[in-house]
C-alpha cells in the first residue's frame, strides 16, 4: 500500500495535520502567528546548513528552528516590543538561508521543494519521521494539556495553581520547532504557519471548548490535506500550496457556516 506515492502523500499530510491541529490552536490563542513564521523561515537556513554539513535535513531544520524558536521565546518572555524584532529575525533567517543554499551545488538542490514542500516525493523514511514527530508532539501536548491551557489563559492564575508559565512556553516552543521540521517536506517553509493557523481559525466558529476546537481543527486539517491532494492531482497544481488553498476554502466556508450556526 505504501508503494503508492499518493498514499504516502496522504499519510504524510495526515501526520502533519494531527500535530498541527492542536498546536495551531495554541498558536492562535496565544497570538503566536508571527512566531510560527519566524521559526518556519529559519528552517530554510537549517536546510542550507544540513546540505553543507551533509547531515540529515530533519536534524538541520530541527536544530535551526529550535534555536530560532528559543531566541524568539526568550525575547517575548522578556517583554520586548517584539513586532519589529520578529520581522527582522524572520526575514533575515529566510534571506540568509536562501543565500546559504546558493553555495550548495545546484544538482542537489531543488529550492522550491523546500519553500513549497514536495509531498508527492515523500518516501517511507520521511513518512516514519513525520509520524514519529507528530506522535511526539501530540503526546507532549496531551501530557501538558491542562497546564498549557491554564498558562495560556493567565500566567498568575496558573502560578497560583503551581504551574510555571515559562516551562509551558518552552513546551510549545519545542513542539513548534518539531512541527516545522516535519512540515517542510509537506507544505514547505513558507506555508507551515498556514497549516497551523488556518484550520484552527476555521475551527473557532464551531467550538465551545478548547478541546473541541483542537479536535475540529485537526479534522479540518485532514479534510484540507485530502481535498488539496485530490485537487493537485486532478488540476495538476503544486500539492503543498493546493493543501493550504483548500484550508483557506474550508476557512471561508466555516466563517459563513459559523454565522448561520451561531444564530441562536
Amino acid at each position: 500500500m505504501l508503494d503508492d506515492f499518493l498514499v504516502r502523500a496522504g499519510l504524510a499530510g495526515a501526520g502533519l495535520a494531527l500535530a498541527a491541529g492542536p498546536l495551531g490552536c495554541f498558536v492562535v490563542w496565544r497570538r503566536m502567528a508571527y512566531f510560527g513564521d519566524a521559526t518556519a523561515h529559519a528552517a530554510i537556513l537549517g536546510v542550507a546548513l544540513a546540505l553543507m554539513l551533509d547531515v540529515s535535513l530533519v536534524a538541520g531544520t530541527l536544530a535551526v528552528a529550535l534555536a530560532m524558536a528559543l531566541v524568539v521565546a526568550g525575547l517575548v518572555g522578556r517583554g520586548h516590543a517584539i513586532d519589529a524584532t520578529l520581522g527582522v529575525l524572520s526575514h533575515s533567517a529566510l534571506a540568509i538561508g536562501l543565500v546559504a543554499i546558493s553555495f550548495v551545488p545546484a544538482v542537489r538542490v531543488d529550492l522550491s521543494s523546500y519553500l513549497f514542500g514536495d509531498i508527492l516525493a515523500v518516501g517511507r523514511g520521511d513518512l516514519a519521521v513525520i509520524w514519529a514527530g507528530s506522535v511526539l508532539v501530540l503526546g507532549l501536548l496531551l501530557w501538558r494539556w491542562s497546564a498549557l491551557l491554564t498558562a495560556t489563559l493567565n500566567e498568575e492564575l496558573a502560578f497560583s495553581a503551581g504551574i510555571r508559565a515559562e516551562r509551558e512556553r518552552l513546551v510549545l516552543t519545542v513542539a513548534l520547532a518539531i512541527v516545522v521540521a516535519l512540515a517542510i517536506k509537506v507544505v514547505g517553509a513558507l506555508l507551515i504557519a498556514a497549516m497551523l493557523i488556518i484550520p484552527a481559525a476555521a475551527a473557532r466558529s464551531f467550538a465551545s471548548t478548547p478541546e473541541s476546537m483542537a479536535v475540529i481543527a485537526t479534522m479540518l486539517g485532514l479534510v484540507s490535506v485530502g481535498v488539496g491532494l485530490e485537487a493537485s492531482l486532478v488540476v495538476d497544481t503544486p500539492a503543498g500550496p493546493s493543501i493550504v488553498a483548500s484550508a483557506a476554502a474550508v476557512y471561508a466556508v466555516s466563517v459563513i457556516g459559523g454565522v448561520v450556526w451561531r444564530r441562536d
Binding site: 492562535v28 490563542w29 496565544r30 497570538r31 491542562s146 497546564a147 491551557l149 491554564t150 495560556t152 489563559l153 493567565n154 498568575e156 492564575l157 496558573a158 502560578f159 497560583s160 495553581a161 504551574i163 481559525a201 473557532r204 467550538a207 465551545s208 471548548t209 478548547p210 478541546e211 473541541s212 476546537m213
Partner: protein
C-alpha cells in the same frame, strides 16, 4: 491561629526605587485582611510577592507548608479566539465533577451558567465565576486583587457579603486588595494601608482615624474613598462630599 504567610523586612523591586520597602506582614488562618492604597502603591506587587511570583530583593517571605492559595486576579482577559465555557473554566487546571461545579456556582450566586461562554458573562457573573474557581481548590488563603472593579455599588456590596459568607463556611483566610473601603472596612479584621511601605495598620476604625491614612486618601483625587470612610466619621462627612462633588 496559625500563620499562613509572614514577611519580615521585605523589599521588592529595584534597590534605588523599590516598589515596596521594609514590609512586615502576617496573615493567619481565618483572618480577613484588607490592603488599601492608591494606584502605584505596590498593592499588586505585594500580592505577587506573597504568592511567590516575584522574589523579594531584601528580607524574607515565609509561607506555611502546603498552603493552598485561591487566587482571583484583578483582570482576566480571555482572548476571543479561545472558546471557554464556564464549566470548562472551573475545571482548570484540575478536573472538577459536574456536581462540584454546579454546587459551587449555586454557592456564589451564579447557578446554571455552566454552558455559557466566559466572554458572554456580565461583569458580576464573571467575578462570581472567578471566585468559584478559586474556591473549588479548597484554599487555605483566598487572595482577591481588586475583585470588584467594574461592578456597580450594589454589586460591590453583594460581592463582599458573599466573600464574608464563604469565609465563614470554608474557614479560609482572605486577603483583599482594594481601593473601595466602605463595605470592606466592616468585614475586615485588619486593614493595612499601603503606599510603597506600610503606612498604618490596625482595625478598620483605627486606620480610618490614623493621620497617615487621611494624608493618603483625605483631600486627594480619591474623593470617593474619603466619602465612604467618613460614614464612620461624622465630622468629616461634608469635606468628603465636597471632594466628591469637585469631580
Amino acid at each position: 491561629m496559625s500563620v499562613l504567610i509572614e514577611t519580615s523586612g521585605m523589599s521588592v523591586g529595584y534597590t534605588g526605587q523599590p516598589a515596596l520597602r521594609d514590609v512586615d506582614f502576617t496573615i493567619a488562618s481565618g483572618e480577613i485582611v484588607t490592603v488599601v492604597g492608591p494606584n502605584g502603591s505596590g498593592k499588586s506587587t505585594l500580592v505577587k510577592t506573597l504568592m511567590g511570583l516575584l522574589k523579594p530583593t531584601a528580607g524574607k517571605v515565609r509561607r506555611a507548608e502546603g498552603l493552598r492559595i485561591g487566587y482571583v486576579p484583578q483582570r482576566l482577559h480571555i482572548d476571543t479566539t479561545l472558546p471557554m465555557t464556564v464549566a470548562r473554566f472551573l475545571s482548570l487546571p484540575d478536573r472538577r465533577t459536574p456536581d462540584e461545579t454546579a454546587r459551587m456556582l449555586r454557592r456564589v450566586g451564579a447557578p446554571g451558567l455552566e454552558a455559557r461562554q466566559m466572554t458572554r458573562l456580565s461583569g458580576g457573573q464573571f467575578q462570581r465565576v472567578l471566585l468559584a474557581r478559586a474556591l473549588l481548590a479548597r484554599p487555605g488563603l483566598l487572595i482577591l486583587d481588586e475583585p470588584t472593579q467594574g461592578l456597580d455599588q450594589p454589586g460591590v456590596a453583594d460581592f463582599y457579603r458573599l466573600i464574608e459568607e464563604v469565609r465563614r463556611e470554608l474557614g479560609c483566610a482572605v486577603l483583599l486588595v482594594s481601593h473601595d473601603l466602605h463595605v470592606v472596612m466592616r468585614a475586615s479584621d485588619r486593614v493595612i494601608c499601603l503606599n510603597g511601605h506600610v503606612c498604618c495598620e490596625g482595625t478598620p476604625e483605627s486606620v480610618v482615624s490614623a493621620p497617615e491614612y487621611r494624608a493618603l486618601f483625605g483631600g486627594e483625587a480619591q474623593g470617593a474613598l474619603a466619602l465612604y470612610a467618613h460614614h464612620h466619621d461624622h465630622s468629616h462627612e461634608r469635606d468628603g462630599a465636597e471632594t466628591e462633588h469637585a469631580h
